[in-house]
Point group: D3
Chain length 193, copies 6
């Protein structure tokens, strides 16, 4: 049922405009119980725009923020290939990682060293990517399963994980990781009788 | 910079309207690098509305969906107090829980039994709640730390957790849980030298 | 695909607003190849409205024009029942009728006299009513079949007719009638061999 | 008084846009008693448009429907010149004609044969063309007078006719014809004393 | 030609809304060469409004500013009647008056004393009132002629004057006065031969 | 708080559009107590526009009116340099000047002659320029101080003046001048004891 009209200064790329209308449709439908068919969003590019005493015309707009999901995917891809230089391009100053057990790290190289004490190799299979849009910050969760090889050479797979990424200004400023690796090695649970 | 205008049939509660404009502002700012001060959203209630050959006037609108974060908070509160009847009111048909180790359950009572094999008591301290609006589905993540008592009576606290809730139509249809309980009991990691 | 927003001064009745959005959807779809599902029309009631140096607020609006189709139906109903007084209420000054053979009349009573020379009785079965909206003027066509009794007492039925009504300001100012009565009596066509 | 704003995807031709605003003005004025001077309609081309989960940008729009009046005029012109091949281009599958006496035909050639039994020649003088916009269907009526020559070589003129055309998707799917030819030959009416 | 749509939170009085649409029509016509008939302005009251992270609903709006022309008229009326207490209610803190010769005063009583050295009595006939809207500040000019009695008892009339008032927040913070009193007493001009 | 949207036919120059949004922001803030940060104005160029039965598309618009302040500045500049030919280009037919003492003139040359009887030379220092937008007419006031030389060769400076200009269609049709020259020569005021 909702009709959402967005007025922007001209110049945002078609990809960004498509992302914007898609975000807004989704955000509205989290409140208003409307079907996709009943949800209309469109963008009008204003030919002149004035706010706060400043007048903008076409092309004066800042570039759109990158797609947070894409940023996370490219970061994870680079980390998976141990291309830390490429990975670092996606990081904000003050970047921080929190790993299972509450281990806090700030350098990707540090992470590599830490991982060497836990498994020989690991690979993530992504099942879901969720984005939480919060204004200044966008939070991206990705979850799925881990596959790899323990330090003793035995293999594992299907172990659940979830990563939380906090992005500001299109850069990742915090990664937090949870997974069932410890559970897989030594379940907390008492065996059912 | 964006000005977002929403046209709705009349009758949505002020709380829902406030939630809607807040969602839309956040969703837009995940694409357009605009400040809060530069982001304007408003709702116009159409006096008559026609789409798909049907004409609506005030009061014909369906009620708004409940706030997904609030649903999750109330569900967790009820579960924490072992008030399963209250908790079940927030569940969709086919509700499913996935717990560490990939344990799948469908009944809250089942969960209580399972938990008895892992710890004497547990309490969640919530630090963050993130909502991902996806149209049909809203995903809510809440994360924080666990405090409780192991089966041997010893205490624990500050153990990280994250829950993922999938809601459709204002009801929870899936909960997935990750935490560091196993890591806390038996870290995967080789002690650093 | 079109989204049509109408701004009106407040005060038009819900029926008139529903008629307006329905008209506009139909009119737009005569140009833009959009489905009903893809056609959205809504009305916003302006709280204050200024044009041509005059400022209107709610309730200052003139009443809506009556539905031209309804006017025609009520006129024909009254004429059918020979209730000329009721029928005359729907007529504009200068009302004129044109009947088969180009016979022009101005009075309903005159029509009754003329008809007496053609048939004993007649009744219209309406199949279709089409409205052409032209701004100052709305033209209504209704067509269907005639049933009745000739002067010689023999019956007829299924004879095609069409009436054209020209309305201005909600009143009928001209009626024009075509039908196959003469054709039924004495076909122009040479019998096919 | 009404201000009507239409949002379209870009790419509709100026002629179609002009036709659209003209239709909408006329359609609105059939409900709201506004003068031409008080009726404003404008089209905004959205730079991005999303409905029903699909996102359109400029140029993705389907072409506008042809002007139904123009289709009818060109069809009648071709038929008048016995250029049936040209005329057929304007016909929808399942095209059907209904002529005085309720004669139903499906082929233009059939019509030519039928006419030969009625008159030597005929020509239409168009006085009025009315369009009824109904969404899927647009109905066009044209009326005026017939001029020609009877089978016996004598001439006729000023004989009233009206044609009803039903168009869908810019093609004619039904033509219905009424006229006073039979009345002219043999009036139903008893001579007035 | 311009259509100007204003979105406000609900609650502004009809008088203020009428003033707003009138101001906007005038302001637009100072740039766009449109007639009154071609200038449309309307106000939509948003049912919910969010900017800068704050959400407003009806009735949260601040009251409108008073009409600057009316403020000036009431101030001048009170001063003319030597009702300084009433006049002071229209003054902003730091109010300042500048009179012919560049005389600066801050108290209305001071003005009265100063005037006693110039004339026995004076009365203003207002011919024109012009408002310059500048955002924070509105400047009002009123001009006309002075009538009164010199200190020697002789009368004067038709002497031109203009007052400039600077208002902020609906209060007068500066008055500046020019007139031809000195010119009337002792023209600068050399008598024409 | 106000969001002001203006729909124009395309083709107004960016300078004119910037002027328009600035005027509208100022005009609105004279009624609604909104900050600059809370005032948003934007222009949408309609791709097709219909009013009063006429349909406009891009480029059909009349050129914008010139900035009244700029017209006055250029006129005063030309007059100051005694370039009466340039100055006259800014004048409307029927132009009239009113000078101190109520002296009315119609020709710039006449003004030059009149001034010769009052001072040897004069120069204006502009401090403020106020524009009052009134629809057909824009009134511009400029005020500041005069500097020059009396007929006896002695100098003066800091003498207050204000000019009122009435513009229609971008041309000056009336100038009215007030200043303290007479006051400076022969104050009305009794010396304070």
């Amino acid at each position: 049922m909702p009709v959402i009209s967005v007025t922007l200064v001209p110049g945002y790329a078609p990809e960004a405009q498509a992302r914007l209308v898609s975000h807004l449709a989704a955000a509205a439908r989290a409140v208003v119980p409307a079907s996709e068919a009943g949800t209309t969003v469109f963008i009008n590019e204003a030919s002149t725009y004035r706010r706060d005493g400043r007048t903008l015309t076409g092309g004066d707009g800042a570039p759109a923020l990158p797609d947070a999901g894409q940023v996370v995917r490219e970061f994870l891809e680079a980390v998976g290939q141990r291309d830390f230089e490429a990975a670092r391009r996606w990081l904000a100053p003050g970047f921080e990682m929190v790993f299972p057990g509450g281990v806090v790290m700030r350098e990707l190289a540090e992470l590599a060293a830490w991982a060497q004490g836990r498994y020989q190799s690991i690979r993530k299979h992504y099942a879901r990517l969720d984005q939480a849009w919060q204004g200044e910050v966008t939070v991206v969760y990705c979850s799925g399963t881990l596959e790899g090889r323990w330090l003793d050479g035995s293999g594992f797979e299907g172990i659940r994980f979830v990563d939380r990424f906090e992005l500001a200004g299109g850069r990742i400023r915090r990664q937090e990781v949870w997974n069932d690796l410890a559970e897989a090695k030594a379940p907390v649970q008492r065996p059912r009788s």
